[in-house]
C-alpha cells in the first residue's frame, strides 16, 4: 500500500509539468491575433501602440522565450494579468473557483447519490418496466447537452411555473455572506443567516441538478451492471445461505462490492462536470470559472485562457489521484500489499 501510494504520488510532478506545458500550447494555438483584443480594432493601424502593447505583454519575444518567462512567473505564483479585466489572473480565479466548486460538489452529490440509488433500483427490477423507465431517465440526462436541459429547466421551472428562482448565485441587491469558505450556502450558515442560506440553496439546486443529471447516467449504468454481476456471484449465495435478510445481502454484500468499480469513474465524472460547468454557468449566470473561461476565450485573453486550462488540468489530476487512492483504500487486495 505505501509503495503503491508513493509510486502514484511520484508521477504527480511529471503530470503537472505536462499540464503546464499543454496549457501554454493551447493558449498559443488560438488562431487569431490577441493584439486586436488588447488594443482594439481602431488602434491596430498604429505601429507605436502595437509595439508598446507587444513589449508590455511579451508578445514581441520568440515562443520559447515566452514559454520560459511563463514558467519562471508560474513558479512565483504569477499567471500574468488578464487582458480583459486588467486584474491578476490568480486573483480573478481565486474569486471564481469557490463558485464553481460549490456548483460542482453539489452536482457531484446529486449525480453520485442519484446514480447509485437509480442503479440499485434498476438492478433489483431488472428488465421490468420500472428498470426501463429508470434507465431511460438516466440516459436522457447524459445524452442531452447541459445547455439544453439548463435552458429547459429555467424556462419550465422558473419562467413558467416559478417554483425555482431565476439565474444567478444571489438574489439581486443582496450582498454575499462574509467570505469564509467561498461557498455561499455554507458561509450564510456560518454567519447565522438562515434565510440567506435557503435563498442561496434554492439558486444552487437547479444548475447543480442539471449538471448532476448529466453524470448520473454513467454512474447508474455502472452501478446497475456491476450489481447484476455481483448478485450472481457465489459469495452472495453464501450470504443468503447464512440466513441474512435480503436487505443485508443487498447492502452489505452486493452494493458494497458493486461500488468498488464505481469509484473508478468518479474522476471521469468530475471531468464531465467541469466541461458541463462551462455551459451551465453561462446559462445560469454563475460567476465561476466556467463563465470566466467563456469570456476569456471570446476576448482572446491569453493569460486567462492559460490559467483556466491549468485549473482544469489540475482538477482532473487531483480527482484522478483521489480516485486511485480511494480505490486502493477500498480494495483489501491493494490495501494490504
Amino acid at each position: 500500500m505505501k509503495r503503491y501510494i508513493l509510486a502514484r504520488l511520484a508521477i504527480v510532478p511529471f503530470l503537472l509539468f505536462g499540464i503546464v506545458t499543454v496549457a501554454f500550447i493551447i493558449s498559443r494555438l488560438i488562431p487569431a491575433d490577441p493584439l486586436t483584443s488588447i488594443v482594439g480594432e481602431r488602434a491596430m493601424g498604429n505601429p507605436e501602440v502595437i509595439a508598446a502593447a507587444k513589449s508590455k505583454w511579451g508578445l514581441d519575444k520568440s515562443v520559447p522565450e515566452q514559454y520560459w518567462a511563463y514558467l519562471s512567473n508560474l513558479v512565483r505564483g504569477d499567471l500574468g494579468t488578464s487582458f480583459r479585466t486588467k486584474n491578476s489572473v490568480v486573483s480573478d480565479l481565486a474569486e471564481r473557483i469557490p463558485a464553481t466548486l460549490e456548483l460542482a460538489v453539489t452536482a457531484m452529490i446529486i449525480g453520485g447519490v442519484g446514480g447509485v440509488l437509480l442503479g440499485k433500483f434498476s438492478a433489483r427490477r431488472k428488465d421490468r418496466p420500472a428498470d426501463h423507465a429508470a434507465r431511460v431517465f438516466a440516459l436522457v440526462g447524459s445524452s442531452l447537452p447541459v445547455f439544453w436541459t439548463g435552458l429547459a429547466a429555467l424556462f419550465l421551472l422558473y419562467a413558467r411555473l416559478g417554483v425555482f428562482p431565476g439565474p444567478g448565485r444571489l438574489p439581486s441587491r443582496v450582498d454575499p455572506p462574509p467570505q469564509v469558505t467561498g461557498f455561499y450556502t455554507i458561509d450564510a450558515l456560518l454567519d447565522g443567516d438562515v434565510s440567506l442560506f435557503w435563498q442561496c440553496l434554492a439558486r444552487l439546486i437547479l444548475p447543480a441538478a442539471v449538471l448532476g443529471w448529466a453524470i448520473m447516467g454513467s454512474i447508474s449504468r455502472l452501478v446497475r451492471a456491476s450489481m447484476l454481476d455481483e448478485m450472481h456471484s457465489d459469495y452472495v449465495r453464501t450470504a443468503r445461505a447464512k440466513g441474512l435478510r435480503e436487505r443485508a445481502v443487498m447492502r452489505g454484500h452486493v452494493l458494497r462490492n458493486a461500488l468498488l468499480p464505481v469509484l473508478t469513474i468518479v474522476g471521469f465524472s468530475f471531468a464531465t462536470l467541469l466541461t458541463g460547468a462551462v455551459l451551465t454557468e453561462t446559462i445560469f449566470e454563475w460567476n465561476g470559472v466556467g463563465s470566466y473561461a467563456v469570456a476569456a476565450t471570446r476576448n482572446l485573453d491569453y493569460p486567462a485562457i492559460n490559467a483556466v486550462c491549468l485549473f482544469g488540468g489540475v482538477v482532473f489530476l487531483l480527482s484522478n489521484l483521489a480516485t486511485d487512492l480511494l480505490y486502493a483504500l477500498a480494495d483489501p487486495k491493494v490495501r494490504l500489499t
Binding site: Y235, A239, R245, P332, K333, L336
Partner: protein
Amino acid sequence: MTGPLLSLSGLTVDFSVGDGVVHAVRGVDLDVNHGEVVGLVGESGSGKSVTMLGLLGLLAPNARVGGSALFDGTEILGLTGKPLRALRGGRIGMIFQDPMTSLNPVLTIGRQLAEAIEAHQPTLTGKRVRARVQELLEMVSIPNAAERIAAYPHELSGGMRQRVVIAMALANEPELLIADEPTTALDVTIQAQILDVLADLRQRTNTAMVIITHDLGLVAGVADRVNVMYAGRVVERAEVDEIFHKHQHPYTAGLLRCLPRLDRRGIDLDPIGGAPPRLDRLPEGCAFAPRCRAAIDECLVRDPMLRMVGASVVACHRAPDAVASLTGAGA
C-alpha cells in the same frame, strides 16, 4: 424424533429458459436420518446441487421447485421470510464447492463469520460473537485463529478458506450440513484434510450430512448411504458397501470404473461413453439408455421406476442382471 430428519419426495426443479423448460430435477425421493451421512453422487449436471439449493430457495429466479421436502416433519418448500432464514445457516448449514469465490473478497473472514452468528443470535454482544468466531476457527483447525479473524480471504490458501466456509456453516450448530463438492476445487492432499475435518465433526457433534460429489471414491470413507443421481433422478440407492460391491445399476458401474484402482493398470478415460441427455429434451424410456451397454428394447420405451433389488433400490429394467451382463459382454 423417529422419522427422518430430511425427507424429499417427488422433488422437482424446472428452469424456464428462453425457448423452453429445463427439467433439472425430475422427482427425487431421498431421506436423511438424524446423524446420518448420505452421499449424493453423479456426473456433473445430474442435478445434485440444484436439488439441495432448491430446498433452501437459493436457486435463480427462473427456477420452480415442486414436490415435497419435510425437515423434521415440517414442509419447508415454499417457505419465505423469517422461517426460511431460520433454516438457512441456522438448522441447515451449507458448504459450497469453490472456496475461492464463496467468500466475499472485501470483508474479513471474522466479519463474515460474525454475520452468520448475528443473523441467528441477534442478542449476543460483540464480545461474545468474537469469542464464538475464534472458537469456530479453532474447531476447523485453523492455526493462529485469533490473528486470522482480521484476515481477508485472499490472504488464505484454498484449504484454509474452505475451513472458514465450513466454520461458517457450523456457526449455529446446524442439525443438517449440506456439503456441495466440498473438496472438488482443492489439491488432493488438501482434499484429505478437509474430509478429515468433516469426519471429525461428525464424530464430535453427530450432525447429519449430505455430501454432494461426482467422485464415488470420496464418499467411500465418509458416507453411510449413497444415492446415485442421473439426469435429475435417483437411479440407485444403497448402503455404501453395497454400492461398491453389489451395485445394480449400469450407471453406478460406470461411475465405479472411473475410479483409479490398484488392481487395474491406468484409468479408463471414458468409461461410460457419451454424454448425459439434454434436460430440456429428454428421450422416452430410460434416460440412460443411449449410453447403456445393457439396454434392451423395453428401455427405449418405458421409464424404469425405483424398486428393491437385493440390498439396493434401483431404477433399471434389467436389474439384477444388468451389471452382470456388462462384464459378460467384456466391458
